[in-house]
């Protein structure tokens, strides 16, 4: 079964000529054709381009080139600009937008020889935790199609879980890689802010957005992150720090690793969910790690902090969509103001408009100090507490989400209930820290995620800790019924 093999195993088959990239690409295209109609995980399929890229990868291998991603298929979240291919960001606003250039991570993965199969569905402009705000309709969770896959990288997560591609890309502003990874039983990593270029990634909240990977294991994620990470002069917040060899570090022993159990993450957590985290800690203890309890008293304020900072940045970023240079334009505008307001009013969906208005309000005269400046101060308090915690421990651990996947439609009427889904993931974005979610068991036959958070630029440590856990467990090898 090609779709259950790791990237390393697929690479060996390509190396030994047991299969070609064209055959591998055909296998995944056939799975997409057969399985995606029930999932709605893709917005755009690029089959012809994929087969051409696969043939080119086979040519490179025949010419003696090697590489861990040469000829390996993937699906990009539709937030990344792809030259010549529609890049919708899940929005009516960009339904007709053909990106005129590649995002840096798209270029890097192309250069590595990875083969794009298509573009993944997502919450509109990455604003959502259930993939229900997409203009292209909700994505279904392959573990139970009446449930959401999480969001905003819901199409990427569902596609990875269903074996529609060996890996997918995602973005994470408040949990948008980790939360859907948890809800679909895959491994997802949000790197440190600045680790991966944001060039060509459609902006939501620029001080929080970061690109990452969803894959079937930490070992696979390590290979992909290696290709994506690194300094990019085209992103002014990209950080020029050397990228370590993530795969080489995976087998480093965990003896003496100090893990901090985040007390605030267990307040109100259902017993069955918290039992899974404690089971995971037993595994870590058998691997030689030591656990101490850690408290970050301001952490529960991360959700209200985020829902000031993120909408404020979104209202600025999305002001570029004006119906003039690209994107949706309303019919027969009567004047320039009418063109702006109706193009935006008709082009954006309900949640995007809600966030733009929230952001406009908190930035408006008379409210800026009370909301935006206040939130920036609380953001520092939260960040300082993380820093103090990392003076005592190497990693922090807790659940990724409070519950497993919920029913489609269950939380759409109440934005606050929906926002609270990201209660455990938002802290890492506010502090710019790397976070990883990996499968750690099931509740009501639905996967749950274990979250690891580390200090800035500790991706190697997170991937190693996740890989060692996956050597001792087989939660990450489970496939939803009908997709195995």
């Amino acid at each position: 079964m090609l779709h259950t093999l790791s990237i390393g195993e697929l690479c060996r088959k390509l190396d030994s000529r047991q299969i070609s990239s064209v055959e591998l690409t055909r296998h995944f295209l056939a799975r997409i054709e057969r399985l995606n109609p029930a999932l709605n995980a893709l917005i755009t399929l690029t089959a012809a381009e994929a087969l051409a890229a696969a043939a080119a990868a086979d040519g490179r291998r025949a010419a003696g080139e090697q590489g861990p991603l040469l000829g390996i298929p993937l699906i990009h979240k539709d937030i990344f600009c792809t030259d010549g291919v529609r890049t919708s960001c899940g929005s009516r606003m960009l339904d007709n937008f053909i990106a005129p250039y590649d995002a840096t991570i798209v270029t890097r993965l192309k250069d590595a020889g990875a083969v794009m199969l298509g573009k993944a569905n997502m919450d509109e402009f990455a604003m959502g935790s259930s993939n229900e705000t997409s203009y292209y309709g909700p994505v279904k969770n392959p573990w139970d199609v009446t449930k959401v896959p999480g969001g905003s990288s819901g199409g990427s997560a569902a596609a990875t879980a269903a074996g529609l591609a060996p890996f997918t890309t995602g973005t994470d502003t408040g949990g948008s890689i980790r939360q859907p990874a948890a809800l679909t039983g895959v491994t997802g990593i949000k790197p440190t802010y600045g680790r991966v270029s944001r060039y060509g990634m459609i902006a939501f909240a620029s001080s929080l957005d970061q690109a990452g990977v969803l894959a079937r294991s930490a070992a696979d994620a390590a290979i992909v992150l290696q290709a994506m990470a690194g300094f990019d002069p085209r992103d002014s917040t990209s950080v020029d720090v050397p990228v370590p060899d993530y795969s080489a570090a995976l087998n480093a022993p965990l003896t003496g690793l100090k893990i901090g159990l985040l007390r605030e993450f267990f307040d109100g957590l259902e017993a069955r969910n918290s039992a899974l985290i404690h089971d995971a800690l037993k595994i870590y203890s058998s691997l030689g790690a030591e656990t101490v309890e850690v408290s970050l008293p301001h952490l529960p304020l991360s959700v209200p902090t985020y829902y000031v900072v993120a909408p404020a940045e979104c209202s600025s970023n999305l002001s570029r969509f004006d119906g003039v240079r690209f994107g949706y334009r309303c019919d027969s505008p009567k004047d320039l103001l009418d063109l702006y307001t109706r193009s935006r009013g008709e082009g954006f969906g309900a949640e995007v408009k809600r966030r733009i208005m929230t952001g406009t309000y908190v930035l408006s005269a008379g409210y800026f100090d009370a909301y935006y400046l206040k939130a920036q101060k609380v953001r520092r308090l939260i960040t300082d507490e993380f820093r103090a915690a990392f003076a005592q421990v190497d990693l922090l651990i807790g659940p990724t989400t409070p519950t497993p996947a919920f029913a489609i439609g269950a939380k759409m009427d109440d934005p606050i209930t929906m926002y609270l889904n990201d209660i455990y993931t938002i802290g890492a974005n506010l502090a710019g820290l790397p976070g990883l979610s990996l499968p750690c068991g099931f509740v009501d036959d639905l996967p749950m995620g274990l979250q690891l958070i580390g200090p800035h630029f500790s991706e190697a440590k997170l991937l190693t800790a996740a890989h060692q856990f996956q050597q001792a467990t087989d939660w990450h090898r489970q496939s939803p019924r009908g997709y195995d």
């Binding site: 829902y307 408009k353 208005m357 309000y361 206040k374 308090l381």
Partner: protein
């Protein structure tokens, strides 16, 4: 309700968003609940805490040489525009 219909109309106008009659009551309710929710921050003692605008300390805006690095791609870029004439973006008449 912490926000009135007039408040939301003002916000929508600042944000350059047309909001329909059907949408308006939903936004009055949901934006009010969001404002109430984030109001929790007002109870936090922040004293002289420095506001945090960037997640990493010690980062500063990089400068680059003042040299042309992009080629002229206006035709490709303007292919996405709703209306273009003589390489200019066309909008409704602003000055009579």
């Amino acid at each position: 309700m912490s926000l009135t219909r007039q408040d939301v109309e003002k916000i929508a106008q600042l944000a350059r968003l047309s909001i329909t009659e059907q949408e308006m009551p939903v936004y009055v309710t949901s934006l009010s609940s969001i404002v109430d929710f984030v109001d929790e921050l007002s109870r936090v003692q922040t004293g002289h805490v420095e506001p945090m605008a960037h997640p990493l300390d010690g980062q500063h805006q990089r400068l680059r040489a003042d040299a042309v690095t992009e080629s002229d791609n206006h035709e490709k870029y303007q292919a996405n525009a709703p209306a273009v004439q003589a390489a200019l973006y066309v909008v409704p008449r602003v000055i009579d």
